[in-house]
């Protein structure tokens, strides 16, 4: 093979494994699911492709509560993560000194434990007479019938906890990349600490926040583990419905239709969000 030909083929060779992987494990299931969502029939009689778009209508009619709830939970947990995560990322980036990587490792340490196990440990912590509420009820600070478990707070809290590193890490990367001289320049140009933060640090960290929101809002909204472990009957999320339709009811068309509906919703939401934040700006700074 000539040198030039080899050079020309190298990028394709490099992308080949990943491309094959995505084709087999992403594109094929997507097509299968899309087709499933338009089929009719039952597990016993088998399914046939009939352009049965009623699954979509039925899904939206029957489960719009769960969809709206999922979006609200996803948004709430994302907001909580920004509020908790930003100071953490800021502190590690600017005050972490030589131990930055130690702090980042500490942040990630809980995530060496399985996702489900961590969620179950929250169940212990939050149970009605558990480690947290038990003593508080004992000394009379909380009424006897007070509960957190099986409320939206528990589910949102669990979601916020479980996805926090995916929020902190991108924000950290964006903050860490800010040249300290730029902050000095702001100070030199009469900006107070607060103004420096508002006019320089915050705008420069937005690409990180953007990435963090993408990486947490999407999985949080479609999550079903937190709702099933920490929630109750009134906190069912769309992920639980889909799981139920697939594995228990075995109504594959409805499950597939709901999955696609959720995906479409998230995509529209993300594009609207990117628009609102000015993606061009965000990506421009990110590409720096």
């Amino acid at each position: 093979m000539s040198r030039r030909l080899r050079t020309a083929l190298t990028p394709y060779a490099l992308i080949f494994p990943g491309g094959i992987w995505l084709a087999i494990f992403f594109v094929v299931p997507m097509v299968v699911m899309l087709s499933l969502s338009l089929q009719s029939g039952s597990v016993e009689d088998g399914y046939a492709f009939t352009w049965n778009w009623h699954s979509y209508v039925d899904g939206l009619t029957n489960y719009h509560d769960q969809i709206i709830r999922s979006v609200i939970y996803g948004l709430s947990s994302t907001v909580i993560q920004i509020v908790i995560g930003f100071p953490v990322a800021y502190w590690i980036a600017f005050k972490g000194g030589r131990r930055k990587s130690v702090y980042l490792f500490l942040l990630l340490l809980p995530f060496l434990v399985s996702f489900v196990l961590r969620t179950i440990s929250w169940q212990f912590l939050l149970s009605d007479n558990g480690m947290l509420l038990g003593p508080l009820k004992g000394i009379g600070l909380l009424p006897e019938d007070f509960r957190v478990l099986a409320t939206p707070y528990a589910v949102i809290g669990g979601l916020a906890y479980n996805f926090l590193p995916f929020m902190v890490l991108p924000m950290y990367v964006a903050l860490e990349r800010i040249d300290p001289r730029v902050l000095e320049a702001a100070q030199d140009l009469y900006a107070s600490r607060f103004q420096t933060f508002l006019r320089v640090v915050l705008p420069l960290s937005l690409p990180g926040v953007f990435a963090g929101v993408l990486m947490t809002f999407v999985p949080a909204t479609s999550d079903y583990v937190n709702a099933s472990v920490l929630g109750g009957t009134n906190t069912t999320m769309i992920g639980n419905v889909i799981q139920n339709q697939y594995l228990i009811t075995q109504d594959y068309p409805t499950a597939s239709a709901l999955s696609f509906t959720l995906m479409a919703l998230l995509l529209v939401g993300i594009f609207a969000y990117a628009r609102a934040l000015g993606t061009e700006d965000v990506l421009e700074v990110a590409a720096r």
Partner: protein, 382 residues
Amino acid sequence: MTDIQAGTGAVVAAAPVSADVPAIELDSVVKDYVSHGEVVQAVKGVSLSIAEGEFFSLLGPSGCGKTTTMRMIAGFEEPTRGSVRLRGEDVTNVPPNRRDVNMVFQSYALFPHMSVWENVAFGLKRKKVPADEIKRRVGDILEVVDLVGREKRRPREMSGGQQQRVALARALVNRPRALLLDEPLGALDLKLRQAMQIELKRIQRDVGITFVYVTHDQNEALTMSDRIAVMNDGLVEQLADPREIYERPATKFVAGFIGTSNLLSGTVRQVTGATAVLSFGAGDQVMVPADGTAGVGDTVDLTVRPEKITISTEQPAGDLSIVRGTVAEVVYLGTYNSYTVVLADGADITVFQQNAHDSTITAGRGDTVWLSWQPRHSYALR
């Protein structure tokens, strides 16, 4: 020849522009750092008085404390001891955002998320200057730095030289008491750097603002400055105008750091009036202004610039300093020839010979030559 003291330039050189109150005064400023549990003294006691409208340079090798000194003027570092005054007002503990000086950073430190216009207007906005005045002043200063029409560009879309000018405009637009420049041309290539040197000097003359310029580049300092403070190891070695710094280096360090110089040491043979005669070898005689401290038999260090020396194959006559040596190397360098001559005591002397008329080489390798210069061109060093 009237000033017979070696090294007096360190304190006596006067500011060229007289103003009632100096723009910047440093009074015995010391800065200690703690690094790895050890106290490191970056600045060991610097006193300076910089006049209004002066182009003042802090020149020295990296680690000499020049940047720390500047950062104390800007307010980014607080002196461990000593005080900083701006126009007579003590600002030693005033934070940078409340000091009326602005800085041009080495890496420019432009705000990457803002346009040129927003970058330049940043300081005025923080000072709550009315919008129409901001518009006018930003427009004016962009004209001064020749960036009209590029207001909407982002720093990243501009060349190094343009970014440099944005940084300059961003600081100058505030009309600060003094502009501090931290090696601002360091990142530019040679051609652009030389063009910017002239440009900076022009802008400084136009706006009439005091410039404090930190650099390790002697050419930059010599080209632009009214006065230069040569720093080494946390102290000012010499403070004088460029001519004096070059022609009359006060210390060995300054002589070695600025330009090419020859360092010699000889023994005092006799002192006649204001002249001390040093001897090196047979037939050699070197005269330097006597400072009254060295007597017969003492060893004295002296310096002489390569271009002041005349090289000849015959012993020159007259009231000159003369040494004899052997040519070790001759290099043709276009505008001049460079000779390396070894003296009897093993010292190397560099001699530049201008190719003014014919590019003739006076002597070749191994030839015995006489080097001579006017006694006023060599100085005893501290």
